[in-house]
Amino acid sequence: MTTAIAPPGKGRVVRAAGSVVRAAGLAPAIGEVVLVGERGLLGEVIRLEADVATIQVYEETAGLRIGDPVTATGRPLVAWLGPGHLGATFDGLERPLDRLAAAGAVHLAAGRAGDASAIDVDRPVGLDLDRRWAFVPSHSPGDRVGPGDVLGEVRDGPIRHRILVPPDVGPGTVRDIAPADATVETQVGLLALDDGSTVPVRLAHAWPVRRPRPVVRRLAVERPLVTGQRVLDMLFPVAEGGTAVIPGGFGTGKTVVEQALARWSDADVVVYVGCGERGNEMAELLATFPALADPRTGGPLLARTVLIANTSNMPVAAREASVQVGMTIAEYFRDQGLRVALLADSTSRWAEALREIGGRLEELPGEEGYPAYLGSRLAAFYERAGRAVAVGGPERTGSVTLVAAVSPPGGDFSEPVTQASLRLGGTLWALQTDLAHARHFPAIGWTQSYSLYLDALGPWYAANVDRDWATLRATAIELLARERVLLDVVALVGADAIPDGDKVVLEVARLVREAFLQQHAFDPRDASRPPRVQVALLRAVLAAEGGLGRAIEGGATLEAALAAPVLEELARAKTWTGEDVVVRLADLERRVGQLTAATAVDTTESTGPGAEP
């Protein structure tokens, strides 16, 4: 068996260990997809030496033997792009997990032999092959079309799903096109290309996941991805088309932040990639999303969401595929002129997969065993985010905003994946273990975090939220910085030893933290707030500095001033709801700012149960 001569296009396994297999007798290209073994395990060629190809296998390799057949497919790893992604759940190789579950596949078997989870590299099996779509063409036979042009559309939940000429096809002439009740494989038209060939038009086309989809030109960012999260929108915004990095040790709430963005961000489409993470988290998303409303359309939240679930116990090589598949799907929606948020949790697991494969290839390791190309791989991924004018007509502008979670070992941000990500990300949301332990959520630290988009987004905030946003933001940040210095002093000399003015700073900073920054992800009143409400609350909180200062100057004790009922209102104001909430917060701001000695409560006369005996 081991000495059998392989037929053309066929090779045989000559070595296998873990997810790396070597095969002889093939003449593949780097990046070519091959099918390994009797079960046809999906693999990708990652190295060529003389007659031997090294393959990373995306599925469980147990059971492979020397001499097992390896078949070349002649194509790179692709994602199938077309209607049917929204609301569905896929694994890292675009297998339809939800439909497999409905068909009874509670566990995932490897390979394509006699299994519903078979991957057919030539057909868009990830998309529902039986579902029918009403295709409405926007061109007629005889029209000239070029790469990326919109040929027509179908209705896919909340979005008009445009059917595009693939960006690498054309130019040419529409020879045939007609309205159709079509599946993703139905030929709904025909293009006659200028080189004399013809290309059928179908609702789905394939695109190599490692090749960024082209754009006409990149655009500067100009507005934020509004998240509904106060600490993000007010202090550390990420631009629509920008990138954000969320590093955090375990238990700091990376996943809660990612899920909050999936729920509340104002993107048209959310692609959520669970890369090497927990299966139960995916189950939770699937259980809760159908009941939640899309903040933009009012429709079910799941209808704008694409879930890619590559859980931690799935074969490791597929982790890299999962983020690339997710990015390719995101780019495809961008090319339709939509605003897409790609949420990747966690890129560290992908990096670890690179490390594991690199180790099996016996590559010389870089820092902490990661391969030397870690930085360039991450860079290639991050740079696929952005705002851009899509290829083809009519003109469409879309964006991919990338929010990447990072899981630093031991919560230590000096490790290679975090550091490489920081060089690439435009916004850092640093999750801090001490804040999480103090149950300050979201546990995003204000000293380490930053946003490089402040200047670019300033005009948008001034025009749409509050003309003083930049000043208010700076005031809040400065107040928190002063608190940090003062707390060091207090730890040495005690709270009584610092002047009243500093005590006011401490109290207002506490209000900023507790009444403003802390946001309850599981309280429906507080989970997401529009920017106008956020800024009104920030104004009310910051007004306390003036109000408390005046009350103390007027002779009140700090304790008495703090007992003023209006501050109690302020502490609960983040849960206020209703149409008039901005007006009420503005009124609260006025009343907080007008605190005087007269409004202070003389706590010595109080007879409530909280009073001193």
Partner: protein, 459 residues
């Protein structure tokens, strides 16, 4: 099930737990083999195959094997465990063979111990509260059916005792108790005996299957033992519809066995010499916890993880924390003060708690009571630190009350002693300590909850 009667004699190299053998027949990756030495038969698994050689890990180690006198017998298939409900009440070794005086086990079926990843879309969201009888866990870091919740511990802390109490005491409210699969990985005989005693004394011994790979058992078999235990757990849960609690102790010893194997294979080490795939490997254990939609049973996993030098950032607890849905953390200072169980609630977390508590599951006010307990206790701990700097005299009367609350919280709320507490009793304990504070300081509790549980008379 022997498919092959081939005996391979060409052993090239023996090093640590690894044997390299010249291939004269095709062996499959992951295949189970028997290693026949002069004195005994051992078991191995094929890790790597090339055209000339096969690399085999030997579970029992290679001590006294000689290259010339060792033969390899392939089995033709991966290791399968014969699983059966009759394993409950039995003591088994790390390969699932009985080591007590009982009869042979008749298998219901043979199952590949590697398991297959659960389809995430076929999972059911964990939502059913498990009453463990441990107040700190039930009130503040609730365990939910299908969750994986480890206990992080340090040398000398009573983690196994806590694990045994959870295993014995856990029940769904108003429902049957759980069956337990216990897997000892590299623990001492004394620890294993303690665990069994805890079961024997609660007359639960017929509800537990015990897989033992003790500290002096072959280290590499430690990689197999938890897979056997979880495979039985899956069978009981998903084929037979039982609620199963898998307790595995100690994950640190498991990780060290993995490191030993990795080093013998001359792999590039990651942090502290552990292999780069440690995360993935641990995930293939812990991720087997869960529930499946449309099936009755559940598999809940409670691993015990030792933190060397109480260091929570050590790779094993660190990576465990990234995989599991929270953690229970034991603290040395609480243990020293006699708080039993010594759970440091500030470091504890249950990620799926919110889905498992509240109206219709526990009590409507569970979340706010937990938040209030946590906030007041955290403030008390902060004040303790402050006192060491500025002295108690510098504190206000309100701050003194918070300090006293923190003491009462540890002594009376967390420190429940050996008794099991029902959820109602745990709530009573919670309100007893909360009532030591004036109503006005319980800001996280809504008025209506206070009115119902803490009427406006001085305590």
């Amino acid at each position: 099930m022997r498919l092959s009667s081939v005996r391979l004699t060409g052993v090239e190299r023996i090093a640590g737990p690894i044997i390299v053998v010249r291939r004269v027949a095709d062996m499959a990756l992951g295949e189970e083999v028997e290693v026949v030495g002069p004195a005994d038969r051992r078991h191995g698994r094929v890790l790597e195959v090339t055209e000339d050689l096969a690399v085999i890990q030997v579970y029992e180690g290679t001590f006294v094997l000689e290259a010339g006198a060792t033969t390899i017998e392939p089995s033709g298939e991966p290791f399968r465990l014969g699983v059966s409900v009759s394993m409950l009440g039995r003591a088994l070794d790390g390969r699932g063979r009985p080591i007590d005086d009982g009869p042979p086990i008749i298998a219901d079926e043979l199952a590949d111990v590697a398991g297959a990843p659960m389809n995430p879309a076929a999972r059911d969201n964990p939502v059913d509260f498990i009453e463990t009888g441990i107040t700190a866990i039930d009130m503040l870091a609730s365990l939910v059916r299908g969750q994986k919740l480890p206990i992080f511990t340090g040398a000398g802390l009573p983690a196994n005792d806590l694990a045994a109490r959870i295993a014995v005491g856990s029940r769904l409210i108003g429902d049957e108790r759980f069956v337990t699969v216990f897997c000892a990985m590299g623990v001492t005989r004394r620890e294993a005996d303690e665990f069994r005693d805890a079961f024997a004394s609660s007359a639960s011994i017929e509800r537990i299957a015990v897989f033992l790979n003790l500290a002096d058992d072959p280290a590499i078999e430690r990689l197999l033992a938890p897979r056997c235990a979880l495979t039985l757990g899956e069978h009981l849960a998903f084929d037979l519809g039982l609620d199963v609690l898998a307790v595995m102790t100690d994950v640190l010893a498991y990780g060290e066995a993995l490191r030993e194997l990795s080093t013998a294979r001359e792999e590039i080490p990651g942090r502290r010499g552990y292999p780069g795939y440690l995360y993935t490997d641990l995930a293939t254990l812990f991720e087997r916890a869960g529930r499946l939609r449309g099936r009755r049973g559940s598999l809940t996993v409670v691993p015990v993880v030792s933190m060397p030098d109480d260091d929570i950032t050590h790779p094993i607890p660190d990576l465990t924390g990234y995989i599991t849905e929270g953690q229970i953390v034991l603290a040395r200072d609480l243990h020293g003060r006699g708080v039993e169980p010594p759970i440091d609630v500030l470091l504890c977390l249950s990620r799926v708690m919110n889905a498992g508590i509240g109206a219709g599951r526990t009590r409507e006010e569970h979340r706010v009571v937990a938040d209030q307990l946590y906030a007041s206790y955290a403030r008390g701990r902060e004040l303790r630190r402050l006192v060491t700097v500025v002295g108690e005299a510098a504190l206000s009367p309100a701050e003194h009350r918070i300090l006293a609350f923190a003491d009462a919280f540890e002594d009376a709320f967390v420190g429940q002693g050996p008794a099991r507490r029902t959820l109602d009793e745990s709530f009573d304990a919670a309100w007893a300590v909360l009532r030591t504070l004036p109503r006005s300081e319980l800001r996280r509790l809504p008025q209506e909850v206070l009115d119902a549980r803490y009427p406006e008379t001085r305590p």
